[in-house]
Amino acid sequence: MTQGATGKLKLVFRSNGKQTSLAEQYYKLPLQVLPPHDQDGDGTAFVYFLNPSGGILSGDRLCTELLADDNASVVATTTSNNKIYKMDDGYAGIYNDFSVGDHAALEYLPLPTVPFAGSNLRQENIFRIRGSSVLFAWDILSPGRWRSNEIFAYDRFDSLTKIYRDGRLIVCEHILVEPGEKTLTRICVMESYLTSASVYLCARGIPLSLKDQIQQILRSSDLRGGMTFLDREAAAIRVVANDPLLLQEALDAIWTAFRKQVLGKDGTKIRRY
């Protein structure tokens, strides 16, 4: 059994009514966080998670806990793709647990997880929100190093996303793929597409016009997808694509539309260089 690294990140964001700041933090490499900055100019804390080791190896366990306390506003993203290296045995684990307090907002926009050929990953994204919280989060399934024609060559990819609202489970998405079984290319699953994304939006009063705008973004990008309301305060967007870069552009446009229509503020460009 491979001995890996155990990285930990614990972050608590609090608002003083005008500005959200990182009130508590603890990290253990290979997980780290850059100091937050106010990119929106409205007190929202922008943070970047990073992994200075460059990628994830067998036996690694990376655990992140984030709390956006009541009234806090946080945008969290990553500095690079999450590269999951080839593993001779064992697996890597990524466990994210995000809590969003009353009238708090979390926008979680990680770059794609890229499982290399022969990798084995177990990932969990757990979101615990309140009825008055706002959540915008996406998860992108990458085929692997597609530019090198390494497509769905990983051994196993197991990703679980759960959203609890006021303690009740409202969303559970479990992606469990072992490409060797050739199930991915079946009709109903990935068919002929290379990459897929799930976006979850939770907020009171999501306008119906947002759905029209998002359908328009997807149509103009020539992507297959759509938006659906799971209940009055939660919606999901599903997209599949053959060009991961085109998918990312569409997701950025969807995020901008969400910000304008739900948060009432402009979109912004996330700089990673």
Binding site: I187, V189, E191, M227, T228, L230, R238
Partner: protein, 237 residues
């Protein structure tokens, strides 16, 4: 808890209950749902028997067998134990795993229609009372109602899961008859030919822990989402 008359039937115990509850005449309204399939036909992605067979095989493995059947099996086990709390948990998880509006509503609507009759048949069973409490909010999935009711009728989990999966596949194939269209003979041949696949997915479902249930069918989900806005449609989902 088994109701009076459980296990009735000459030959296989419970065969009469099995045929009644899983039969096409039991009033669930399932015939008015295509679960996203209508979008594939509308977009000319499924046009003939070969393409429909591929769709039916994938739907059987990914949805009926891969996602729903393990829940039916789990609900049966909890109904045998009389564990209503675990039945509630299964129902909540299954609802959460439906990732489109129409698939959620279809499951809850057919569950409600099924319960309308089933609850009157087993009015004193605590498991049925539990489902009635859930019926309006957050709703009872068809798989939950089916598993509890057929267990109360005295059937074991293997039979209940087989009946659930087979009747779901039969319902889909009837959609194929209407939408492609397929001839009735072709449809019955297809259903008959797929019995081995049904057996395989049911056997696997009985052994699948709910933590291993996968609901990754992005293209079917997108078909379900697009179905909400199709300009004309025969089916509710």
């Amino acid at each position: 808890m088994k109701a009076d008359g459980a296990g009735r039937g000459f030959g296989h115990p419970g065969i009469c209950s099995l045929l009644q509850f899983a039969g096409g005449t039991f009033p669930t309204g399932a015939f008015s749902h295509s679960f996203g399939f209508e979008t594939y036909v509308y977009e000319n992605a499924v046009c003939d028997l070969a393409e429909f067979q591929a769709f039916a095989d994938s739907y059987l493995r990914s949805v009926l067998g891969g996602t729903e059947a393990p829940f039916v099996a789990a609900v049966c086990r909890h109904a045998v134990d009389g564990n209503t709390e675990r039945i509630r948990e299964c129902n909540e998880l299954l609802t959460a795993m439906r990732l489109t509006k129409e698939s959620r509503e279809a499951s809850i609507k057919t569950g409600k229609a099924f319960l309308r009759v089933a609850a009157a048949l087993f009015p004193d069973a605590p498991e049925m009372k539990c489902l009635l409490e859930l019926q309006d909010c957050p709703g009872v999935n068809y798989a939950t109602a089916f598993g509890v009711t057929l267990t109360l009728a005295g059937l074991d989990a293997a039979d209940v899961v087989s009946a659930y999966v087979f009747s779901g596949l039969s319902s889909l194939i009837q959609c194929g008859v209407k939408l492609i269209p397929l001839g009735n003979t072709e449809a019955q041949f297809l259903l008959f030919r797929m019995q081995d696949q049904v057996t395989d997915v049911c056997a696997a479902a009985l052994l699948t822990d709910l933590s291993d249930v996968c609901n990754f069918t992005p293209c079917l989900d997108i078909a379900s989402v697009k179905h909400e806005d199709l300009p004309s449609r025969l089916y509710i989902s």
